[in-house]
Amino acid sequence: MSERLVVVGNGMAPGRMLEHLFQAAPDAYDVTIFNAEPRVNYDRIMLSPVLSGEKRFADIVVHDDAWYIDHGITLHKGCRVVAIDRAGKTVRAADGTVAAYDKLVIATGSTPFVVPVAGHDLPGVLTYRDLDDVEAMLRAASAGGRAVVIGGGLLGLEAAAGLQARGMAVTVLHLMPTLMERQLDPAAGYLLQKALEARGIDVVLRANTHAILGDGRVAGVRLDDGAEIPADIVVMAVGIRPSTQLGRDAGLDVNRGIVVDDAMTTSDPDILALGECVEHRGQCYGLVAPLYEMAKVAALRLAGDRAAAYGGSVTATKLKVTGVDLYSAGDFADGEGREEIVLRDAAGGVYKRLVLRDDRILGAVLYGDTADGPWFFDLMKRGVDVSAMRETLIFGQRYAGGEPLDPTAAVAALPGEAEICGCNGVCKGTILDAIESQGLTGLDAVRAHTKASSSCGSCSGLVESLLSLSLGDAYRPAAVQPMCDCTEFGHDDVRRLIVAHELKSIPAVMQEFGWASSGGCAKCRPALNYYLLATWPGEYVDDGQSRFVNERVHANIQKDGTFSVVPRMWGGITSAKELRAIADVVDKFAIPTVKVTGGQRIDMLGVKKEHLPAVWADLNAAGLVSGHAYGKALRTVKTCVGTDWCRFGTQDSTGLGIRIEKFMWGSWTPAKVKIAVSGCPRNCAEATCKDVGVVCVDSGYEIHFAGAAGLDIKGTEILGRVATEDEALQAIVALVQLYREQGRYLERIYKWARRVGVETIRAQVLDDLDRREALFARFVHSQRFSQHDPWAERAGGRDAHEFQAMADLNLLEAAE
């Protein structure tokens, strides 16, 4: 006599389970299936090709009607089970159908998560889960128009590619800074983004959906930052939730999913569960491979095998978008004892990363060339010792003596019209032509013939790469000091290539230049953050985690972990009100030390980190703002009292100093910038040992730069003399902007000037008026995005996590 097996749900997991069961114990059960969908079992994983038009529904059917008849299965289509009577061992469906069971399998799957923003229930807002969703999308796509997909994970991107293939204009909104962050590291995420953008899909990262707009029907999406994106349909693909209601109502143990043990059995021994609705060892799965593994165990258990056990799964993912090859498997995080092997071929658009421990593969991310994905996955699952093939492992299974990596690849990939030398406007093609036609063999010869790298010299590394490309082994370039151990490129090359390749994120730079580590180090990350910030003002999003603590929290860390606070005093001028506010703050927060600095400011030392926002709020109330004493930024403009008071003063040095400081505060620079303005050649403001100095004379303003009075002591160089205050300001701003564009991170102005040459700088910021104006304009543009008082922002609550402990266990102890 057969036992009665009832299955709730007819997705891929129970379908596979029944196949195994019929093989292991063909006549053990009379099977009844309840399917809420009005159709047979189909391959949900292949919905994306149906959406994009590469497959039809008939192609993805797993079990057709004949299969159910052959196996004597009673299939209730379009029939949703609404209750389980565990005592009477029956299930009841919405239409009143009742079925009795000896064993019950719950496979209710999952439901798409819908972001509960205003407008989420408007017609035209869809999810991406089953064939009904796909049909709704296809109906919408047939009319053309615009689609917005919320969610840049696997499903969202497949939906986006499918809709785009069907002729819609598609925008993907993703909350996180990189796409598919659960499966991919930032470098691979970046490559994926580029590939999608290249095929015409707009990608908006860090996009937080505020509301879905529309009157009676969806018309667009509004983001938190106020941006609005028009849309004829909105597809939500932000994640799934295990469908647990049935199990919960029946009184089974349910956490995030219906809890099952290694035997796929729920808290009721006669009820099994599997698929996306379950939670096994704290883990819920949404990929097909684990579901199949569960299906096999559940089938064997039903067939009476008491040893069958499910031990959890390692998972692999492949994005099903035609033309984009992407594969990720296992655990690819960094960690103790873990090593990584990274292969980057920026020109070929290939990225491969293997994570190993004890000579065994733990995880793999492949982009561009995924042919070896299953091979790596197999080695990983079987725990194969790869030490013997380690040297060539990354090249894949069919490795046959691959070419060594070429460090000049990034330069080779540039088009002929890419500008190599910004100072003299020389492009790559011109340089290569000259090398070839003139038979040039060295850097000096290229400089003489083309002028490339003959001015500031910051593109020398690139010119040398072109020589290598053209001459091969015949050319031996001079050694360039690399930025850090993560790369072979020097600072200048990186800066130039950021511009030439229009790179706008740290992962993008690391990918294009073949960084040896996956996440950089404490040397290169702050440098890259500055270069990107300086190159793409208003576009690049500052990465706080790549900044030194002082710049992250806008105060100077001291030896005991407390901070010092220096408010701005424009030109060194203060007032009774400001001093009173400072005195009050010192009393209120019991600040131990107050000191006058060399830059004519007041420094409060020993402030506890958690007090910083409150200290700033009080200082702000008196009109005091951040003095940037903590930053690679404009620090101070020191002045003397000039014609206001001094009997020798020739110009209004205080006024000019204040004007310079108000114009330039907030700007980030390669290293700190200290300025001084003296009202006469007696030079009381000590302008001739500053990064930039002005010495006023009767006939105008003598502009100095490249002084030093720290580790090195050096008098300034004279840039030149100008007649008016306006001209002085313009020349100083242009000078600092040139330094911002050419300086290496942490390189002070005097070192930059020594490297580049005082003459070169003077030619650009003083003699060439067009260039001076262009530099000035770029600085002004950049200031639009940097002149916000960081103290006021943080006193207002921004980055609150920086200033508060995550938890205080002292309080816990007290409570116990």
Binding site: A333, S517, R547, A805, M806, N810, L812
Partner: protein
């Protein structure tokens, strides 16, 4: 007897590639989150001069101390390169979206 775990907050409370401080009777604990959401916890004192490691730049599975740029391995607490010294590790785990520290490991006298 299993380990007793103390809940200290949400994973989302810690910035990726960053750290937070948990105050405890035995001194501050630095709780680190890497770019790929792995968690580590160390006493918030650099073995060099006691600098607050929680304030350093987190890169890969290491942190660079903000005072004198010692690089400390998050997994072992050991100083890297030519420097030597160790910041004591504290057992940490993630349970769903919660972060928990081992209660025993937080005692100053624990190994």
């Amino acid at each position: 007897m299993g380990t007793r775990w103390i809940d200290v907050g949400l994973l989302a409370d810690i910035p990726a590639c960053g750290a937070r401080v948990v105050k405890s009777p035995e001194g501050d604990i630095a709780v680190f989150r890497t770019s790929d959401d792995r968690l580590f916890a160390l006493r918030d004192r650099c073995p060099h001069k006691g600098g607050p490691l929680s304030q350093g730049i987190v890169h890969g599975t290491a942190v660079t101390c903000p005072l004198h740029n010692w690089v400390i391995d998050l997994a072992s607490g050991e100083a890297q390169g030519a420097d030597s010294g160790c910041a004591r590790r504290i057992a940490i785990r993630r349970l769903g979206d919660r972060v928990q520290l081992s209660a025993e490991a937080m005692r100053a006298d624990a190994a």
